[in-house]
Structures are given as structure tokens and as C-alpha cells.
């Protein structure tokens, strides 16, 4: 995964194994699911599976957002507080402003894109290291959320249907036995879209190219700064979606929430096999990483493991899961 080394010597071999490789990436996840099912009869129930999926939605969307940034070789610490800020703006528009629902959603996504763009300007134009630029943004947005709301949550009681965005279940209406929450549906749609952008479009191509060798891309005559800003803006817009999801889930914009969520999202990305040094990564991996995280937390809770032991076991399993993945890749390489 280091930019230079550990690359399989032969490109063909690389590709032939890739389908099989992706299947194997599920391995850690499946081992976990099977393990918890054996350990507790309450784990593999429909309602608990739905709870796990619901718990994955917000972190998953954030992880998808930050995957984009990480593939460019950057990092974004502001995703958590940006999510909150977008939720707050939705609250301002809907509850305080009394505007119709679509406008609120648009405001949240637009705010996300704008803030992402600003981070992008810091990073691309002003050449501030992404860590610092987004650390600054994290603090600024955290403060702004508190300032705008006056440190009190904004509730969405005045907006009928707001909670169904994440909590309702379109699928459940069709297949009552399988009431997948809309939040999860949205996660999958967002993930599919971003995977498509990454895999098929120019923006995606430049995302990988920037992470691989930014100078080479610049020397090829590409407007690297512009594209980078676009990527940050897109990522910000996705954080806006995460903001809508969490607001809908909590029926409120909680201004103090958000910090710490970036770490979890980044962890999901890295567990999913995306390299922090940029240039490689997949959305599928990120989804699996996010699922591993929520299966782990939920499973340990359902097993009624003491919280301090939950922490220890989570840490150990994350290491083991990534190590197993590492071994697999090495043997596949």
C-alpha cells in the first residue's frame, strides 16, 4: 500500500484476482457476523439487522465523503462538524424559516458544498496542508453551529415527514418483512453514485490521479487546483446529506454533536483498504469498513460485553481485521 512498494510485480495477475479479491474483502465482515450470531441469538434478528444498518447510515455517508478526499491524498477532519452545521442550516431554513422541505434539503447540501469548496480553496489555492485546513474548518464550523443555534437543538416538529427521510422505510412498504430504513437506502444510493463518479467520470479519474502524483497531473496541463476544489465541494455536499440523515434520525439538529465522527469515518475508510497516502481506494471497501465498525459495536452490545471491554475488543478486532486483509493481499499479490 505504500506508494512505491508492495505493488504486485505483474499487472495482469493483479487484475485477474480482483473480483475474487473483492469477495475476500467481505471475509472479516462475515466472520464477525457469523461469530456474533453464534454468540447471541438476538443478534441475527431482522430488527437488529435493521438497527445495524441504520447505525451505518450516517457514518457510512460521511465515510464515502471522506473517501474522495483521502484518495486525493488529503484528509478531512471537518466532516463531522460540517455534517452538524448542515443539519443546523436545514433547521434554520425549515423550522425557523418555515420553508418547504425541499428547500431545507437543498440548503443543507448547498451549505455542505460551499464549506467543502472553502476547504478546497484553503488546500488547493492557499496550499495549506489538508490536515490544518480542515482542522481549522472543524473548529470554525463547530463554533458556528453553536452560535447559530444559540447552543440549543433545533427541532423539526414543524416539518411533517422530516423524520421519514431517514427513519421511514420505502422498502418496508413493498417487502414488509425487510423494513430497510430509508437512511440506509440513501447511503447505498450515495455510495453507488460516488462509486460511479470515481470509476467512470473525469472527476473520478483526477481524484485518483491527484493522489497518485499531483505534480505529474499538473505537468500534464490539468487545472489541478480547480479539480481539487471540485472534489472537496462534492465531498462537502455529501456531508450535507449526512447532516440531513442525522437530523432526520434525531428529529433535531444537535449543535454540539459531530466532533469525533471524523475519526470513525476515516477509520471505516482505512479499514476498507483505502490508503491514507492517496491514489487508491474503493467505495465498496469503505462500505464494508463502515459495516464492520457498526456490526462490531452492535454485536458487542448485544452480547452485553462491559463497555470498557467493548473498547478493548473493538480495538483488537480492528487491528486483526486489517491484518487479515493485509495477509490476504500479500498472498494475492
Amino acid at each position: 500500500m505504500t506508494a512505491v512498494t508492495a505493488r504486485p510485480a505483474h499487472a495482469h495477475r493483479n487484475r485477474a484476482g480482483s473480483a475474487q479479491q473483492k469477495l475476500l474483502a467481505f471475509a472479516s465482515l462475515i466472520v464477525l457476523v457469523v461469530g456474533f450470531s453464534l454468540a447471541s441469538a438476538n443478534f441475527l434478528t431482522v430488527s437488529n439487522i435493521m438497527a445495524i444498518l441504520q447505525a451505518t447510515a450516517v457514518n457510512g455517508v460521511l465515510a464515502v465523503a471522506v473517501t474522495l478526499i483521502i484518495i486525493t491524498g488529503g484528509i478531512d477532519l471537518s466532516i463531522g462538524t460540517l455534517m452538524t452545521f448542515c443539519a443546523v442550516i436545514a433547521g434554520v431554513v425549515l423550522t425557523w424559516g418555515g420553508m418547504p422541505l425541499p428547500l431545507g434539503l437543498l440548503a443543507a447540501v448547498g451549505t455542505g458544498a460551499l464549506c467543502g469548496l472553502i476547504s478546497g480553496v484553503f488546500v488547493a489555492r492557499m496550499k495549506i496542508p489538508p490536515f490544518i485546513a480542515t482542522l481549522g474548518m472543524m473548529l470554525i464550523l463547530k463554533g458556528l453551529s453553536l452560535i447559530v443555534t444559540g447552543t440549543k437543538p433545533i427541532y423539526f416538529n414543524a416539518t411533517p415527514g422530516f423524520t421519514t427521510i431517514a427513519q421511514g422505510s420505502l422498502i418496508g412498504r413493498l417487502v414488509p418483512a425487510f423494513p430497510v430504513p430509508n437512511g440506509v437506502l440513501i447511503l447505498f444510493v450515495v455510495a453507488a453514485l460516488v462509486a460511479w463518479v470515481l470509476g467512470r467520470t473525469v472527476l473520478g479519474r483526477y481524484t485518483f490521479a491527484l493522489g497518485s502524483n499531483e505534480e505529474a497531473v499538473r505537468l500534464s496541463g490539468v487545472n489541478t487546483d480547480g479539480w481539487k476544489m471540485a472534489i472537496y465541494a462534492l465531498s462537502g455536499a455529501i456531508c450535507g446529506i449526512a447532516g440531513i440523515l442525522i437530523a432526520s434520525r434525531l428529529n433535531s439538529a444537535q449543535p454540539a454533536l459531530g466532533q469525533g465522527y471524523e475519526l470513525e469515518a476515516i477509520a471505516a475508510v482505512v479499514i476498507g483498504g483505502t490508503s491514507l497516502s492517496g491514489g487508491r481506494g474503493t467505495i465498496l471497501g469503505t462500505l464494508i469498513g463502515a459495516l464492520i465498525m457498526s456490526v462490531l459495536t452492535n454485536g458487542l452490545r448485544v452480547m452485553s460485553v462491559a463497555p470498557e471491554w467493548q473498547t478493548v475488543v473493538t480495538g483488537a478486532i480492528i487491528i486483526v481485521a486489517v491484518y487479515a486483509d493485509q495477509l490476504r493481499r500479500r498472498s494475492a499479490g
Partner: protein, 501 residues
């Protein structure tokens, strides 16, 4: 004939370095204009200015007679100027085709990339070049030679009017060079102006129409290639004559065996390779691109340990699982890819030279004797003629050839009994080259055992006491020094079906 490009009085200063001093240069349509000079003379810098990478500190650039400003690579591209950089500028995580078309992807609706066309177009260019590179291969997995082919393909894809090639053949073997020259001739016939930088004299003779020689950041002169003898050009470059020596092969039958390799195998790249190397011997390795020479060397060195086979050093069997094992056993390996495997570009010249030998310059407290190291670094700078502001200059700021010399210095300082040099003179100027040949000869005479892998047959013939030839991962034969090129080529193309097993 009107000038396509005219550079007048170009000046370029870097902090502390006056890299170009009022250089004049012109390029006509339909000519190959060779740019020559010692390492650090300023060739790459001049061409980076022409391609919009650097901004000149003074002077002006005329394109088609009109003054042009080139604030960035894109501006140069828009004027039809394209460059193949000396230091490969590739995105290692992308495929060959994706690299070639970066920034100019064929698009469908919605910003989608027409991947099929992208690959087909790349395949067409490779086919033109008669190169077997898979457009879908990830560039980071390709050998340095193939990466260079990708760079060339990328430059060709621009169909530009001015094509600058900064040492495009440094890592190529004769076969690919032949193909490249065929392409260059075709482009020349189409009226493209080509700037060609190389340290390989024979190439210049074969391809150049005019030659401009640079020295110390200034222009020495421009001459017609056809009616100027090489010796004149060389003395213009280095200010002296270079003696054209030939190898004298010592009798080593009594010398002890330094390294013995038996049945070394690693995947398809290295297949059952066996040979012996005596002390005092220089064993050359010849082969076509991808023949497996680099892979063999890396397997011996433990960079990617072999799957099977034995290695004996000084008559005793050695277990080599990592480069650390190899170095401990007295084996050193200079990689063909200095940027990725040879240098810590962010560190300075002194620390890079010291990288393999630090424990020797450390006291019991772990304290590094920097004074001593600095002294040694300055010695090497003088001895190899490394053009640098000093031993504390960051290596990434050195010219390509000078970087190569730093890697050589690193291994000379390590003082291994067995030295494997993979393309040691890649990008090194003719004067320094002959000094390095001299140096390798001296090392051998002092009892070192040396393996030289080179894609330049003249170099191998000039250096080697014996020449091993590889093809498709197998060692197809070992010839005595001074063997004929035909003989070597025959072994180098001895494919499996043909060879008698």
C-alpha cells in the same frame, strides 16, 4: 526556413544557482535538434522553461515568430509544445492508457470517460511504437523501461508541433530505441520540430540534424551534425578529449569464486538462473527489455526473495531474505530506478551517500560523526564530479545525472565485496561515464566482484569480462568479453520454444 521556436537570452536563477546564463536556442520545423552537455549543464532547465514548467528569470521566447508567455504546462501545450520529462512524471496508480490521456480523456455525456476508446487509442499508439505494453497495466507495476515507453507514448499522443525529449532512451534497449527512431523520423518528415537530449553519442549521430552544446548554463555553440566529428562535440562538452579505451580481460581462472547462484527462481520473471562470479571479475548482463535482469538482481539482493535456488557468497551458502541480509553478506545493489528505490530525495547529498554505511560512522552512543561524513561526501563530490552547491544540498534539486552519481557514491562508500549495478550510467554524461568505467575497472582490479546490468551494449562490451545474456527470465548463455553483438542478440532473443533445453 522559419524558426518554429526561438529562445533568446534565456536566464534562470534558482536560489544560489545561476542555472542558465543568456542561452540562445532555436528549433526549426522538421528537424531533430540535439541538446548536449554535461550533467547539470542546464539542458533540462532550458527545456522546462520552453514547456512552461519554469518561468525564465530573463530572456524571451518566440513561437512562430511571435513572443509567447508560457505561464504553465497547459499554455505550452496549447501552443503545440510537449515534453517528455527526464524524471518520469507518471501516476503510478493509474493504468498506462489513463496516464497517456490524462487531462484529455475522451468523454461521453455526464462527464463520463469513454474508457474503451481511451484504451483502444493507447493500444494504437503502442502498436505504432511496436511496444507490447498492455494499456490496462498499472504503471507502478511496470519496469522503468516500460514506464519510459509510456511517457513516450503520452508525448506522441499530443501530436504536437514541438516535441521535447529529455533523455527518452536512458533506460531503453537497442530494439526499442530503433523503434523510437523510426517514429522520430516519421514525425520529422511530418514537419514536427524535435529537441532531443541524450548522453548517448551513437544516438546523436544517428538521429540529429543539428547539435547545440551547453556548458555551465551557457551555450557553447550550435553545429551541423552531419559535418562535425563526435570528438569535436565531446570536447565542446567537456573541454577535453575522452580516451576511447577498450576492456582488457584479466585471467581470473585462479581467482576465488565470490558469488555463486544456483537455480534461482521467482515466478515467471526469474527462471532457474545459475552462474558464478569470481573475485576481480566484471560480469555483464545483457537482454531485451523485460528479460528479467532486474528481477534476478533483486532476487539475489533479497529485495524480493527468490522462491527457490541457492546463493553462495565466498564459497559459503548464504540465506538472503532481505536487503539487510544481502548487505551483511557483502552484496550491494544499485537500483535502476533511482527515484523510487535509490534515493531519499528529501535528504541531502551527504545523508544519501551515507545511507548504507551509517553504522560505520556512529559511536557507541549512536552519535553520528557528521564531520567525517561531510569530509567523505565532499571527497565523492570531487571524485565523481557531482555538480551540487555542497554536501548539504537536497538531492531532489540536483540534475538527473548528478542524482545518479550520488547513488553510485552511496554504494562505493559501502565497500561491498560484490556489487550489482543496474543501469549504473543512466543519465550520466559521457565524461563522467568514462570515469565510472575507469572506477569499476579499478574496483575489479582491487578484487571486488561486479555485476553490471546495462541496456547499452557498447557499455557492456566496454566493461565486461564475461557477458551473461537473459531472455524471458532464463539465462540463455554466458559469452566471453568482447563477444560480437550478433552473438549477444541471438541469445537475447532465444525464446523458449526455440531454445534447446
Amino acid at each position: 526556413m522559419s524558426d518554429l521556436v526561438r529562445m533568446e537570452g534565456i536566464d534562470k536563477r534558482f536560489p544560489g544557482v545561476h542555472a542558465l546564463r543568456g542561452v540562445n536556442f532555436d528549433l526549426r520545423a522538421g528537424e531533430v535538434h540535439a541538446l548536449m552537455g554535461e550533467n547539470g549543464a542546464g539542458k533540462s532547465t532550458l527545456m522546462k522553461i520552453l514547456s512552461g514548467v519554469y518561468q525564465p528569470s530573463g530572456g524571451r521566447i518566440l513561437v512562430d515568430g511571435a513572443e509567447a508567455t508560457l505561464p504553465g504546462p497547459k499554455a505550452a501545450q496549447d501552443l503545440g509544445i510537449c515534453i517528455i520529462h527526464q524524471e518520469l512524471a507518471l501516476m503510478r496508480d493509474l493504468t498506462a492508457a489513463q496516464n497517456i490521456w490524462i487531462g484529455r480523456e475522451p468523454r461521453l455525456s455526464l462527464g463520463r470517460i469513454d474508457e474503451a476508446r481511451l484504451n483502444a487509442d493507447a493500444a494504437a499508439i503502442f502498436a505504432d511504437m511496436r511496444s507490447a505494453i498492455d494499456p490496462r497495466a498499472e504503471v507502478g507495476t511496470l519496469s522503468i523501461a516500460r514506464q519510459q515507453m509510456v511517457e513516450i507514448a503520452k508525448a506522441l499522443s499530443y501530436r504536437s508541433r514541438v516535441l521535447i525529449m529529455d533523455e527518452p532512451t536512458a533506460a531503453l534497449t537497442d530494439a526499442e530505441i530503433g523503434e523510437l527512431f523510426a517514429i522520430i523520423r516519421k514525425l520529422r518528415a511530418e514537419g514536427v520540430g524535435i529537441v532531443y537530449i541524450s548522453h548517448k553519442m551513437d544516438e546523436i549521430k544517428r538521429i540529429a540534424d543539428r547539435i547545440t552544446v551547453m556548458r555551465d548554463g551557457a551555450c557553447v555553440g550550435t553545429v551541423d551534425a552531419a559535418d562535425t566529428p563526435m570528438s569535436t562535440i565531446i570536447s565542446m562538452m567537456v573541454g577535453r578529449e575522452i580516451a576511447d579505451e577498450t576492456v582488457s580481460i584479466p585471467d581470473l581462472s585462479a581467482a576465488p569464486i565470490a558469488l555463486e547462484v544456483r537455480g534461482l527462481t521467482r515466478g515467471r520473471a526469474v527462471r532457474d538462473v545459475s552462474f558464478q562470479l569470481r573475485r576481480g571479475e566484471i560480469l555483464g548482463f545483457a537482454g531485451l527489455m523485460g528479460a528479467g535482469r532486474t528481477e534476478t538482481a533483486r532476487a539475489i539482493f533479497g529485495a524480493e526473495p527468490a522462491e527457490s535456488g541457492e546463493i553462495a557468497v565466498g564459497g559459503r551458502s548464504a540465506t538472503i531474505r532481505s536487503p539487510a541480509d544481502a548487505v551483511a553478506a557483502g552484496i550491494g545493489y544499485l537500483s535502476e530506478d533511482r527515484k523510487h528505490y535509490g534515493l531519499a530525495l528529501g535528504l541531502d547529498v551527504r545523508d544519501n551517500i551515507a545511507l548504507a554505511s551509517l553504522p560505520r560512522f556512529t559511536d557507541a552512543m549512536g552519535h553520528v560523526r557528521d564531520g567525517r561524513l561531510g569530509q567523505i561526501a565532499r571527497d565523492f563530490i570531487a571524485r565523481l564530479g557531482i555538480r551540487t552547491l555542497g554536501e548539504r544540498q537536497e538531492v531532489r534539486l540536483l540534475s538527473g545525472g548528478n542524482q545518479q552519481k550520488v547513488v553510485i557514491a552511496k554504494w562505493l562508500l559501502r565497500d561491498c565485496d560484490i556489487l550489482i549495478f543496474d543501469e549504473p550510467t543512466r543519465g550520466i554524461d559521457i565524461g563522467a561515464k568514462s570515469e565510472i568505467y575507469q572506477l569499476l575497472g579499478d574496483l575489479a582490479a582491487a578484487g571486488k566482484a561486479i555485476i553490471v546490468i546495462s541496456s547499452e551494449l557498447p557499455e557492456l562490451l566496454r566493461l565486461s569480462h564475461r557477458i551473461a545474456v537473459m531472455c524471458e527470465g532464463r539465462l540463455t548463455g554466458i559469452l566471453p568479453g568482447g563477444a560480437s553483438q550478433e552473438h549477444i542478440m541471438a541469445l537475447a532473443t532465444q525464446r523458449e520454444g526455440v531454445s534447446v533445453q
